[in-house]
């Protein structure tokens, strides 16, 4: 029986099989409409996360399965002081697979150690959010046709953004991927990541202005720059527009560049970009459902 705690739990070959399955689901949904008949997914969300939870629920329902669970700690037995270990033992009696989000880092791993059913980490604090990374990889592979040989720009809050860190960690396993980090000084990508890239001789550059590098990018991964991350208001006002993607900046980009964003978007991508055929962030949300469907099937298969 397998669990998913980190995007690196799967080898690149296993990920290829997972993504092949996700693409088959995308093109032949009817074939999978009853693949999980009689199966139950438990969504144990100790903190609210509408998008991720609904994506998991949609995935299971589209496979013919059913869903039960809770959407915040207050409505779970955690409010009575029950441990994660005890909760998952009980959930194992009620469901066939569990997706868990928890504010404490490592909570889904604790659950996986005690569980009789596969556990999927649906986000644990600032630590991991593997299904977001799988979503990003599937989107890139489906729309670009490959997970190697491209230049990806990552823009915004590169210091605290766990989705960015996980995506970099997953992409360095593929050949000829070059990174361009676009962020204010205060929100630069952590040193351990740049050290890792240097160690592996993976090319990267760090810049402050998005316009400078737009023409070089095959992919642009946008994230939100939050005001509270800045030390002072002045710097925020000076820099914030650098990180808002609009039609003028898109004019500098290649015709086949794709824009990704883990969502929710606040104002870092102007709505005028939404109609641009290169805007892939809403398709990305759709791929999030396909990859979760493929993941549920793969993990349930691992129990046989």
């Amino acid at each position: 029986m397998r669990h998913l705690m980190s995007p690196l739990d799967f080898t690149p070959e296993e990920l290829d099989r997972l993504f092949d399955l996700a693409n088959d689901i995308e093109h032949n949904p009817a074939k999978y409409a009853h693949a999980c008949d009689g199966k139950i997914l438990a969504t144990c969300f100790y903190e609210p996360s509408t998008r991720t939870r609904l994506s998991f629920e949609s995935a299971m329902i589209r496979l013919g399965g059913r869903v039960l669970g809770f959407s915040d700690a207050a409505s779970s037995s955690a409010s009575k002081g029950e441990s994660v270990s005890d909760t998952i033992r009980i959930i194992s009696c009620y469901a066939d697979i569990c997706a868990m989000r928890h504010p404490k880092e490592g909570a889904p791993m604790v659950a996986s150690e005690k569980s009789h059913i596969p556990v999927i980490n649906a986000g644990d604090g600032g630590h991991q959010h593997p299904t977001q990374t799988l979503t990003d990889l599937l989107t890139i592979r489906s729309l670009k046709g490959r997970l190697h040989s491209f230049t990806i720009g990552l823009c915004g809050d590169l210091k605290f953004g766990r989705t960015v860190h996980s995506l970099i960690g997953a992409l360095i396993r593929y050949a000829n991927v070059q990174f361009v980090f676009i962020s204010p000084e205060e929100l630069r990508v952590p040193d351990y990541i740049t050290e890792l890239l240097r160690e592996k001789n993976i090319p990267y550059q760090e810049v402050i202005r998005l316009e400078e590098v737009m023409p070089d990018l095959d992919l642009l991964y946008m994230t939100r720059v939050q005001k509270e991350r800045f030390f002072n208001e002045e710097d925020y006002v000076r820099l914030k527009d650098f990180y808002i993607l609009n039609a003028a900046k898109m004019e500098l980009a290649r015709e086949d560049m794709l824009v990704l964003h883990p969502l929710p978007r606040v104002n870092e991508i102007s709505v005028e970009v939404d109609e641009d055929p290169r805007a892939a962030y809403f398709k990305q949300a759709q791929y999030g459902v396909y990859v979760r469907m493929a993941l549920i099937l793969t993990l349930l298969e691992s129990c046989r």
């Binding site: 270990s85 880092e105 490592g106 604790v110």
Partner: protein, 144 residues
């Protein structure tokens, strides 16, 4: 000069940093063993000035000394059989340590989950870096 007699079978842990022998006593859980233990504190040492020594008379298979590699790999471990030193063990950093250090990341599940052991894995032997099994918080063995 204080004299402590020879032991027949067991370990002599020499070159312990002065004052650290009681920590090692705790980590090795020697209080749980029904055996003779001599704790020598602040013994004179040419190499270290002052040092601590622990003598433990027990079956040599009874103790798991791996944790010493994390605590201080400069400790000399002499294995004694029939009153003689039969082996000097080289200490290496253990791949995993359990309940030796605590994860101080307040966002880690170990901060709230009942009776969850604090487990760390050696992630970078060269830099002596350990990471919490659950949250991957970094701890340097050199910083202790």
């Amino acid at each position: 000069m204080l004299n402590v007699g020879k032991i027949e079978e067991g370990f002599v842990l020499d070159h312990i940093k002065a004052g650290k022998s009681l920590d090692i006593y705790d980590h090795l859980q020697l209080d749980k063993l029904d055996c003779t233990v001599a704790i020598i504190k602040n013994a004179r040492s040419e190499k270290m000035g002052k040092k601590d020594i622990l003598k433990v008379e027990c079956d040599i298979d009874m103790l798991d000394l791996d944790v010493l590699g994390y605590i201080d790999h400069n400790i000399t471990v002499n294995v004694i059989k029939n009153g003689e030193i039969v082996e000097k063990k080289d200490l290496v950093l253990p791949r995993q340590i359990k309940n030796v250090i605590k994860c101080h990341n307040p966002r880690c599940i170990t901060s709230i989950e009942q009776e969850l052991p604090h487990i760390f894995f050696l992630s970078d032997p060269e830099k002596e870096i350990y990471r919490c099994k659950y949250c991957e918080e970094k701890y340097s063995s050199r910083a202790k």
